[in-house]
Symmetry: C2
Subunit: 362 residues, 2 copies
DNA sequence: GTGAAAGCGCTAACAG
DNA sequence: CTGTTAGCGCTTTCAC
């Protein structure tokens, strides 16, 4: 005999129709009430109250996916990056932090896409544009294929620290070369001359620019850079540790460098660990400077070059939102822009003047 | 005279109807082809190929929000946590890492919701259940109100390190008390007796349990704990630094503690910084041990208690997915479960035997 | 084998 | 002021 609707449907979010039924009005009346911005005044006070009461009773929440279907907008931003399995990617994490803060402030949610490797990315990225997000923020993308092949029809996107500037979108990065020069100039100013650069991976624009900044600063100071005083490795502590060991091993009996300029804090940390393991003191025996000013640096009391990572994240959100607006208004994609932010030198406990008499490598 | 459809609509993702039109078949034929699982054989080879070719040409991607509307499932998981403005929340970040890895492996995307404060959370969380995600992972939620008030109708959810176990959902955490005992027992084993505990905020279950583990380990060893040897502060480096300074200030002229057990790596780092600033040597003058084994710990060469944070993240995803399945199959909410993972002691460079003669605080 | 029709929850454009 | 109709892009059921 339970022919009519049973008392309450257990597990299904209340819908506008439910609210309308409860309040004795149509679903669209309920819609009108619950979305005051446009049409609130059209509904009588009395009806409004009934609807509001019903919505509250039923704990009504508008279904955003249904809404997205009609106004073609999810209010969700996609963050694409590579979260390696090994040590957490602190660089990514700080940008992420900035992105989440700004997105939240702008009423957007952030969805994270983890590309296992950038080789897979050009296949994966198109799949991310499936309506669940309105645009993409690419963090340190390392993609060689031309964007037209993998970026769906000028989908709204921005790139932070891309290996090549992505055409047709906003590109944001820090001044890697300038930052490297700041670091090296400081080392030079302290009197260091034999400076080892433990650089990042070949092919990464950031790594290349830091390497170039290193060379230029040395050149400008008239300091020669022997070929073996530049090595390249991964942007990780393991990479730094291996590079450091390998270098020391292959230079036994020769003088220890005065200082090391590492292309990232992770690399610097690896160097530090290997140096300490050999009983070498930092900064008394050798100075070290990193890059990024991630948490690593603070915890290790490492001097470093700070990039405004969180700011980069916030700006990326702003640029992306602008681009999304333009896109929905039918404006052509705003042409590629390139924004470069300044870096700052942070001095901590790994910098000192060189030793009077260089140590020999054991 | 462009009366018919113009050559190509510029900016709008291709739809099933578009594909069908291009291939000269109906939209549902296209649908049937492009979603082989159920109905692939029903369509003729020839039609299949035409559809596939059209889809490729048009770069067709199924719209997940439309699909979600019909099968009530977004394949997106929500991660709710508090990303404070100050130092990045490394604890959150590591759990996050595990969540993203596992979710990606299971074909789910992860959406991050940042509650500015847990006070706001009970208002915010219901809003997150708006169809954009299928379930929620609450990371270290600190909510006093009963779950029935803020968790929408037993929406699928799991909690990692909740301050109270959330009823009706899976609760996951590490063995905080056991971990604390491990740490303290190690200190005791080295011969330390006057151990200062710099604990986390009052009210956080994790902080309380670590504090309790500290007390119990001392009691079990017959070591008394004066009331002023337990202080509480925020889970941050700043908190640790302030607490350390305040304690040293108020104990001038008294003997320095043998060792410090900090309730988090962040706190430990703050302590370390203040100790070093006073010229005290770790571990020669005083031993320090942290909790969490975040990056902080490694970079600062800090001994600590490791929690399987990434594993917690992975398990949370698995539990949530199970719960989502149960939910859609109409099974009642699986009753609350509680999973407690073991911790591991990690020894680095901040542990040593106590000094023969205690130092006095300057 | 294939198309027509209905509906997921919502909003927009009209009628009444 | 309010209800009806149509449609966002997709899937499912059911005729043909």
């Amino acid at each position: 005999m339970t022919d009519k609707a049973p008392p309450a449907r257990p597990r299904r979010a209340a819908t506008l129709a439910d609210v309308g039924r409860e309040a004795g009005v149509s679903a669209m009346a309920a819609s009108a009430v619950l979305n005051s911005p446009t049409t609130s005044t059209r509904i009588s006070k009395e009806t409004q109250e009934r609807v509001l009461a019903a919505a509250k009773k039923l704990r009504y929440r508008p279904n955003q996916t249904a809404r997205a279907l009609v106004d073609r907008r999810m209010n969700a931003l996609g963050l694409v990056g590579m979260l390696a399995g090994g040590d957490p990617n602190l660089y990514f994490l700080e940008v992420f932090d900035g992105v989440v803060q700004e997105a939240t402030a702008r009423g957007q949610i952030v969805t994270v896409f983890n590309v296992g490797s950038w080789e897979a990315a050009s296949r994966l990225i198109p799949q991310y544009c499936d309506g669940r997000v309105d645009g993409l923020i690419l963090v340190a993308p390392m993609i060689d294929a031309p964007a037209s092949e993998w970026l769906p029809e000028h989908a709204p996107a921005v790139a932070v620290h891309p290996n090549h500037a992505v055409p047709g979108v906003a590109n944001l990065r820090a001044d890697d070369e300038g930052g490297a020069r700041q670091a090296v100039n400081r080392l030079l100013g302290l009197g260091h001359r034999r400076i080892l650069h433990v650089g990042g991976p070949v092919g990464y624009m950031g790594a290349e620019l830091r390497c170039q900044g290193f060379r230029r600063a040395c050149e400008a100071a008239g300091v020669g850079v022997p070929a073996d005083y530049i090595v390249r490795t991964d942007f990780t502590a393991e990479g730094g540790a291996q590079a450091m060991d390998a270098w020391l091993q292959s230079h036994q009996g020769q003088p220890l460098p005065d200082a090391i300029f590492a292309a990232s804090d992770g690399i610097a940390l690896g160097c530090l660990e290997r140096l300490q393991a050999r009983g070498l003191r930092v900064p008394e025996d050798i100075s070290v400077i990193g890059f990024d000013n991630t948490l690593f640096a603070r915890a290790a009391r490492l001097s470093t070059v700070a990039q405004p990572l969180r700011t980069l994240g916030r700006l990326a959100v702003q640029a992306l939102l602008t681009s999304i607006e333009a896109h929905r208004d039918g404006h052509a994609a705003t042409d590629a822009t390139e924004t470069v932010l300044d870096t700052t030198l942070i001095e901590r406990a790994t910098l000192a003047a060189p030793r009077a008499t260089p140590l020999l490598i054991a």
